[in-house]
Symmetry: C2
């Protein structure tokens, strides 16, 4: 890919004045504290760079996979003008990337005369699914079954439903409406794709679900929805250059990792992610998985019981000023807020002159909504500061594919660095297995009978703890 290095104005910025004790008092970091945290982060980055250079960091390696992005772009071309809906059958890392991209970069779904919409089947609510399937099957839809392992029961059951309907509706042509994105060699989805010679794309084996947005998991839906996958990768590649070139000391990833680490060390167990942009609302959802699943760990790499993790809290500016801000200002001082600010909106939208009877509101006239939202962001960070509550503001120049790619990749690096500082493994999720086994057992899946007794124990005497009492 031809890389154009960004000018100053085309790069994200991090404003951390409200993380420092100079402006927020004792809850903030002193310069020495920050320097110490940065030193740790620097060492962690050195390690990370070595792993990256050896090709061990899957989500970094794929940035250079030209064939991967070409295949996704090709898919976009093939279906251009031929789809009403791109239907993702996927959950967790298989849905959150596509959802974040669609929310940020596509028009409001109710606007007429647009390209295909994203329908994300990332739950198994029968009321919701029935409606989504009704929409999907009454238009021109391509269904994307996305699961790295292929074994995800939510996606699996949806796929059984969809294949059944596709065969009924289209007979032998059912295959044209399906795309499989899964491991290149293993798992039931791969077998299924091979058996029927279905269209399919690989999830690179070295990339875990929550780090997969810049693989076909995110790039294929993006391309089908009219979002340029090259631009997403370009944004990520710039961050890669910034972080690993050594030109910035500290680089953006070191700085954020140091700040996040330092505030967690000071006992703040929540990390609020609060973009001031409705379009970025689902970026918080994507981030919340990345952060929670990567960092919420019982054991350290050396086997110590650590119960690591801070909880990502999803919020939205300005909306949550009228919902959560009172708590953030006066409740327990247990949070670090990350704001995401958009420097330049695609629309400004001016507030017009006040109609008669509304003169009291005329102080708003002549300003734009773009101005209002950014002024409110600063006012909120400043009022938090006045209450001694720390925050960090990340600004991006615009909401576009380039900047989304940059944010995705930066947060992935930061998450892995924080894991390194905590001495934990950011790439596994050992705990969720048990719930899956319980589900299998409760649905009578052969081989899971041994869980029945455990579940029986939970039902003994349970009626004593039911309201209303019988």
């Amino acid at each position: 890919m031809q890389m154009v290095l960004p000018g100053e104005g085309d790069m994200l910025k991090i404003d951390y004045r409200f993380a420092m004790n100079g402006l927020i008092g004792a809850n903030g970091l002193g310069k020495k504290q920050l320097a110490a945290a940065l030193k740790k982060a620097q060492a962690a980055l050195k390690d990370l760079k070595a792993r990256r250079d050896r090709g061990e960091l899957g989500f970094a390696t794929v940035l250079n996979d030209r064939a991967m992005v070409d295949s996704c772009a090709g898919l976009g071309k093939k279906y251009r003008g031929k789809l009403d809906n791109v239907v993702v059958l996927g959950i967790g890392g298989s849905a959150l990337g596509p959802r974040a991209l669609a929310k940020a970069l596509l028009p409001h779904p109710l606007l007429k005369n647009q390209g295909p919409r994203l329908l994300a089947c990332d739950n198994v609510d029968p009321e919701d699914l029935s409606e989504i399937f009704k929409i999907a099957f009454s238009g021109r839809s391509l269904f994307l079954a996305i699961s790295k392992s292929g074994a995800t029961p939510e996606t699996g059951s949806q796929l059984l439903y969809v294949v059944n309907r596709l065969k009924k509706n289209y007979g032998k042509k059912w295959k044209e409406h399906l795309l499989v994105i899964t491991d290149p060699e293993k798992g039931v989805l791969r077998k299924f794709a091979d058996r029927h010679d279905l269209q399919s794309l690989p999830v690179p084996p070295k990339v875990g679900g929550r780090y997969s947005v810049l693989t076909p998991v995110g790039l294929a839906p993006a391309a089908l929805l009219g979002i340029d996958p090259q631009e997403l990768l370009r944004g990520a590649t710039i961050i890669d250059e910034i972080v690993f070139s050594g030109k910035h000391k500290p680089c953006a990833a070191e700085l954020l990792a140091a700040l996040y680490w330092a505030f967690a060390a000071k006992g703040r167990n929540m990390l609020v992610m609060m973009p001031y942009s409705s379009k970025l609302a689902d970026l918080s959802e994507w981030f919340a998985q990345l952060w929670a699943e990567s960092l919420g760990k019982k054991f350290s790499l050396t086997g110590r019981e650590v119960h690591a993790g801070t909880t990502p809290v999803r919020a939205l500016g300005v909306t949550d000023q009228h919902s959560q801000l009172q708590l953030y200002l006066e409740g327990p001082s247990d949070k670090l807020v990350t704001f995401i600010k958009v420097e330049k909106f695609r629309e400004h939208l001016d507030v017009p002159k006040a109609a008669s009877g509304l003169e009291e509101l005329s102080w708003l006239s002549g300003h734009s909504f773009a101005e209002l939202i950014n002024v409110e962001q600063f006012a909120t960070s400043a009022s938090l500061a006045r209450s001694g509550r720390p925050s960090i503001t990340i600004s991006i120049p615009r909401v576009d594919a380039y900047n989304l790619g940059a944010l995705f990749y930066l947060f992935e690096l930061v998450t892995v660095l924080v894991a390194s500082l905590w001495g934990i493994n950011p790439f596994d999720q050992p705990a969720v297995e048990l719930g899956k086994q319980y589900t299998a057992s409760l649905l009578g899946r052969p081989g899971f009978e041994d869980k029945e007794r455990e579940l029986d124990r939970f039902n003994k005497k349970a009626s004593r703890f039911l309201w209303p009492r019988k």
Copy 2:
């Protein structure tokens, strides 16, 4: 209103087995601990009942306001079949109730051939607003300006925009497209409505924004969207009867308040609200405001500095099992989870026989998605229990207006009871004022010049804490 008392099967249930130490170990409550908490809650309820009986509890008093519900229902009738969009200009308590209702009770917005859709303008993002206005002004829309005080700048600036456009589009008939919901006597919106003789409905003065979903703030949008406001009130009234009749010892509100209080006292600073129903996703948003703004308080009623509050964490089952569950299971043990379970879904949606090549998934065939989602809910609560993590499951018979009304009112009572146990005022939100003043100052509103110096202080030396360094 004619009240029909519900049968056992038509009432919500609370399952708190996984809150007790018998099943989850030391993190759970002992019977004595729970009994002590219940005793406190009982005393708080006695106080609350006295206030309710004296007519001091605004959100309870309105349940008997026949004229209020009739006016909302009448509005629904007047506009039946005449609207494509109900556009709420409102934020916080003025939008979260309508949003929760629409999400729960209306079909998916992209389904064809339905009644009016809700468009909620609860942010000032210019990209998002431009699109919503484009949709609204290209169909038959009624705009609802909802603000108790009338002074909300977000809603005010939207109203300036909308009135301007309505006058351009409809000339003298602009008034037909506007409904004002505000204080019956005070504020700029009331003045505006009076001046132009606009359609308007009152927000009862004794009911604060976040407690107003069962006033015209929620009931008018509901009626316009085809949701029966009487049913919402019927659900609330049943809870009122259950809570205040003294027939249940403990009642549902006492039980939940005692549990929430006891786990907060044990140091759990997060309350996860996790419905297993996509339709209830925005109920969590509504709850999050109620809980955060009511309970996040610096001072007690006696003026002590307490920094009360626990943070509401919005989650969704099963979706967040693939995002947050790893953290909830293995991270710090700092949360109490409340699940909401739906006993009977309006659709079941069966998983069909496995197509060839997908035989590995055939253990899912023959089950329904309704079964799957509820089995996963139990499996999740059980796996949390195995890790010693507490949870409570509230079951509702169905997702309908009656049960929504019940949940709204129950959570309002529980929140006020917890405030009472903490000795704080659940009805104010003193801290958010400063941010509003900063915003006014930054936009040059006359009278707010004194804030400039404070803000200047925040900008001094700020460039030292900017990345990248210049």
